[in-house]
Symmetry: C2
Subunit: 308 residues, 2 copies
Amino acid sequence: MTAQLATKSAFVTGATGFIGSHLTAHLRNAGWRVGILARPETIEKNGLRRAGAVYAYRGLTDEVIDAVTDFRPDVVFHLASLFLVAHSPEQIVALVQSNVLFGTQLLEGMSQAGCTALVNAGTAWQNYTPEPPFDSQNYMPVNLYAATKQAFEDIAAFYVESAGLRLVTLRLFDTYGPGDKRRKLVRLLIDTLMTGQPLEMSPGDQTLDLVHVEDICRAFLHAGKLTMARSEAGAKVFAVGSTPRLTLRQVVATFEEAAQRKLPIEFGKRPYRSPEVMHPWEGPALPGWEPTISLLDGIRNVIAQELG
Amino acid sequence: MTAQLATKSAFVTGATGFIGSHLTAHLRNAGWRVGILARPETIEKNGLRRAGAVYAYRGLTDEVIDAVTDFRPDVVFHLASLFLVAHSPEQIVALVQSNVLFGTQLLEGMSQAGCTALVNAGTAWQNYTPEPPFDSQNYMPVNLYAATKQAFEDIAAFYVESAGLRLVTLRLFDTYGPGDKRRKLVRLLIDTLMTGQPLEMSPGDQTLDLVHVEDICRAFLHAGKLTMARSEAGAKVFAVGSTPRLTLRQVVATFEEAAQRKLPIEFGKRPYRSPEVMHPWEGPALPGWEPTISLLDGIRNVIAQELG
């Protein structure tokens, strides 16, 4: 067998998002052939045409079937989603189309193309745990975004039965890393560090679970290999979390240690969210994977990239 | 309190379908005020404008919000769905839009309007039970249609948490009755009776569960009252099935008894479906309801209407 034939191939949705862009680079660095499905405007904006196997999606099921059939991936990484902490009524259509319809089209495309290995990005918010046991497998969504993620898994269950789908869903917590433009905690702290403007926060006693994007990429790659090596159809769910978990206050203190500067954070000036996840889910960990980048090192790395 | 003030009001989706049209008539006969949401072409085709509170739906979330807000129902009966035993790729978009997106818009509309009582039509095919225990609560979809029904329920779970939704889902089995144009078993037997053409069937040993549409309407009305009387948010699931259950061969024999004629049925000329439900789900029965129309009486009634 030549090296060429041994090359693994991965099809990635959401490849221009924060995790997706890191994952495609990670896969290419590891020698994988990578195919991408994206909206035409996303392809233009990101200059993806140069990137090789890039397929356009305008909303048609046939586009997805044709793309997967043409590329014939060993495994599909499904990261595309519309993320909303809270939705407004005018976002309902986009939320269902992005998080349920597109995923169903992807499953149909894989089924038609005979591709059966799928690693899916879920969220720990599908298993909201207001009280113990925190490792409950019960579904309880924090928000509509999490509910649409669960809806996708429900639909995937049909393809497990009918098409032999081998599905691994990684339930993600908070993620961070260089190049993150999402208005999440680490981004807000970087902005506060740069501007010196006071930042109002909740009381800060909620527990967080932050994983560096490079560790997330390693989790996806590892899950992809596990899925490809599996012979039986089925759906598995794993948590991709960190140890030890810290409270929001402790994360801010870690950031201040990394920045060697005290930040003007005003704890308690804002209420907790409703609902606020005070204790994130404690689901089964992805076997054979653990995070390697400590929060202190990870934040130092982000600060260096942003301010360097 | 005057009689006017005591009138109950129900908002019905899928009101022009087989069950929906019987249910709206049933509700009106029982003195209920009925509101309907339907596509403009459905409104035209069925001459619904005369029917009173009729709202048009072209796909927009705002149309659903405005309709529910304007009508202010005591309870919503959600029967609209695209039913497919097996799907083809070009039906994926319509399936997700009809069975997931529209339902989500309805939940959002109810949430915005402060309506919290919902009776939803589910299917026993969400709980496919290839082997005992047949009363398992585990979700396993027979087909993509059933998977989209489950997806809707999991999206509804968010509105239970966030908007105090009181949801009852009735898992339906097979239904039949006068005016049924769907190409289902009783319809096929009527056609065979009228034409005398041989009808090829599977071996016929699968157990069926047939409920007359008038009994189904009574189940919905009863579930609506139960839901309205409930004070706590939550989601409940009940089976709406018959006793005794019969095999396909026994149902055909009952039809022949009702018709007083032997039908040219060729059992075993067709294979079972893949998958074939040999033993329907045995879920928790809707409390306080049971079917009143025997299969023999029900089929006699349908034959009389069709041939009368």
